[in-house]
């Protein structure tokens, strides 16, 4: 640690994950030896590290302490890619299908939020979701006040009298939605496929060490095949993941219900190849640019370049920093790992 991961042939790799419904399989894969098994198969070592603070894990990855890290498509664009680290979205694990939502107290509509406070983690996917919700109702963000509120305190914050509306994600969302008088106004179900949970790796490292990518993808889809099953093994896996994230099987299954998992690699490949992905990323980058998150040096949303599996690109192709890649998932789909 301490030095950026220099691209070269390596034997051992570190990836970071944090607690979230779509990333809990990494806990299972790491603890049950699935990752080790696949790493051994390719003659490498992979250390899977749990970081509780999501942003800190991305920061550490961006600073070079890890070769890979889980994050959303939006954060992948803003932090590592915006920070000049060429990154590849290796695995598209799922997209949020109701896992993020806007909740209000009482009988309000989106348009009624005008002039009110909305508590959310600023510059996060919640903020993005709010922006999309406001678009749908035709009002602008400047018509209301966004209060930056730490995710850990969101549930408690909603219980105080002065908070009227929050945007947050699961499991906080279901806790808040269960409050008496809470009303869910808008969720990621309304913008399917726009909030994507991915495993992002260092592009150079991946290019120099394809085995690293293969091992990760192999381990991931083996885990998927276990957890998707409804038999004892699948339940055991899911209850493991539930407990690891502080709840139980039922709680975890409830969270999975609002998550569109790509259990089969082919699903993920199809999703990545669709036109929709580039459209989504275009909306995302404009959102980021509007909020100054692409870096103050960014003269336009085109500043950071992206590539898509179909050969499509967005932004400055001389500064391509985020690559959506389906080669490895494709190998998994083809059973070639």
């Amino acid at each position: 640690p301490g030095q950026p991961a220099l691209a070269a042939k390596k034997e051992s790799f570190r990836v970071a994950w944090s607690i979230y419904v779509g990333w809990m399989p990494w806990a299972y894969a790491a603890e049950k030896g699935i990752v080790d098994k696949w790493a051994k198969k390719y003659g490498i070592e992979i250390e899977v590290v749990q970081i509780n603070d999501y942003i800190e894990s991305i920061n550490q990855y961006t600073a070079g302490a890890f070769d890979g890290c889980v994050m959303t498509n939006m954060d992948a664009l803003s932090i590592p890619a915006g920070g000049g680290l060429d990154s590849t979205a290796l695995i598209l694990g799922d997209f949020s299908n109701g896992n993020d939502g806007l909740v209000v107290k009482g009988d309000l509509g989106i348009a009624d939020l005008t002039g009110k406070n909305v508590n959310l983690v600023e510059l996060s996917v919640s903020h993005y979701l709010l922006a999309r919700a406001l678009d749908s109702a035709g009002i602008a963000e400047r018509d209301l006040t966004v209060v930056n509120t730490s995710d850990a305190d969101m549930v408690a914050a909603f219980k105080t009298a002065e908070v009227e509306a929050v945007v947050t994600w699961n499991p906080l969302l279901s806790e808040i939605a269960a409050e008496p008088g809470a009303k869910v106004l808008y969720t990621s179900e309304d913008i399917p496929g726009e909030i994507i949970d991915m495993m992002v790796v260092n592009t150079e490292t991946l290019a120099d060490n394809p085995d690293f990518g293969k091992a990760l993808v192999g381990a991931w889809y083996e885990t998927m095949s276990i957890m998707m099953k409804d038999d004892a093994e699948g339940k055991a896996a899911r209850s493991f993941m539930g407990e690891k994230s502080g709840t139980d099987l039922a709680g975890y299954d409830a969270q999975l219900a609002t998550t569109k998992m790509f259990y089969e690699p082919a699903e993920a490949v199809d999703f990545a190849k669709s036109e929709k992905l580039a459209e989504t990323m275009d909306v995302v980058r404009n959102f980021l640019f509007d909020h100054g998150i692409l870096g103050e040096g960014a003269p336009s949303p085109d500043y950071v370049g992206m590539t898509f599996p179909g050969g499509g690109t967005l932004g400055d192709s001389g500064n391509t920093k985020l690559r959506f890649d389906v080669d490895y998932m494709g190998m998994a789909a083809a059973g070639a790992l």
Partner: protein, 273 residues
């Protein structure tokens, strides 16, 4: 007896008086909890005593089904280890630097300004850098405690060293003491009681830093558990954990105070604080 400053409670009165605030606090909690539960029986914010008992029983006396170990004790062990190492390092460093800065004009000129400045840097704001420098493992957690606590120790000890009567230093020199001997035989022994006080005053902040660091990168520890269940607002776990942390810290504090009263019985003045 007239004046308030001379009125001392008896042994029993002392215990009673000391217990009173705790009883009042407990009563206030129970009333608030009852009131909330009456409105919403599922309220998680101020759980009933029964929920606490259940949670404690589950965490402390039932083996974790996955690992077969007892969660509370695992967490406690992990946290205490980090705390112990962090505080030892901070204390050792604080003692050395505090004595140097308090006693030696050269060291004071060189380091007092930088310590005064560094003590004002909020460590939580530069976490990314700290994690890059110290990694994300145990070292980082211990270092966060060290970085958080040491500046206070250094400043407190150097201030207390500087208040040693000059006569003593002069006297020691006339008895032929070198600087090193003055440090070891005159200054250090008289600084130890203040060191213990500083350590006691640092306990609170040290736990704070421990919890913060465990909330960022850990897979066990008291702070980790609180962080983990906080997203479900599981106050039935959080509050016993907080109480347990408080109890642990208080016991350490109590032990240090008694150690100090015993070991440094040359000290004049009142005891028991």
């Amino acid at each position: 007896m007239g004046r308030l400053i001379n009125r001392r409670p008896g042994r029993a009165g002392q215990v009673l008086l000391g217990a009173l605030p705790f009883i009042l606090l407990a009563a206030a909690y129970l009333m608030a909890s009852d009131a909330r539960l009456a409105v919403n029986p599922n309220d998680k914010l101020l759980p009933s005593v029964q929920s606490f008992v259940d949670a404690i029983n589950r965490l402390a006396f039932q083996p974790d089904p996955r690992k077969g170990t007892y969660i509370l004790w695992d967490d406690t062990l992990a946290s205490l280890l980090r705390l112990g190492i962090g505080l030892s390092v901070a204390t050792g460093f604080g003692l050395v630097a505090g004595v140097a800065i308090g006693l030696l004009p050269l060291a004071r000129s060189a380091f007092a300004p930088v310590v005064a400045v560094l003590s004002m840097v909020p460590p939580l704001a530069i976490l990314p850098i700290l994690f890059i420098v110290f990694g994300l493992g145990e070292v980082a957690k211990v270092m966060l405690i060290v970085i958080g606590v040491t500046p206070f120790m250094v400043r407190d000890l150097s201030m207390s060293v500087a208040t040693l009567p000059r006569e003593q230093l002069v006297k020691a020199q006339t008895l032929g003491a070198s600087t090193w001997q003055i440090v070891t035989r005159v200054v250090l022994p008289q600084t130890l009681p203040r060191l213990v006080s500083a350590l006691r005053l640092s306990l609170g902040p040290a736990w704070l830093f421990l919890i913060s660091s465990e909330a960022i990168a850990a897979t066990e520890g008291l702070g980790y558990r609180i962080f983990l269940v906080r997203r479900y607002l599981a106050m039935d776990v959080i509050l016993p954990y907080v109480a347990w942390i408080t109890l642990l810290a208080f016991m350490i504090d109590w032990a240090l105070r008694h150690l100090s009263d015993r070991a440094f019985d040359w000290q004049p003045g009142e005891r028991g604080l």
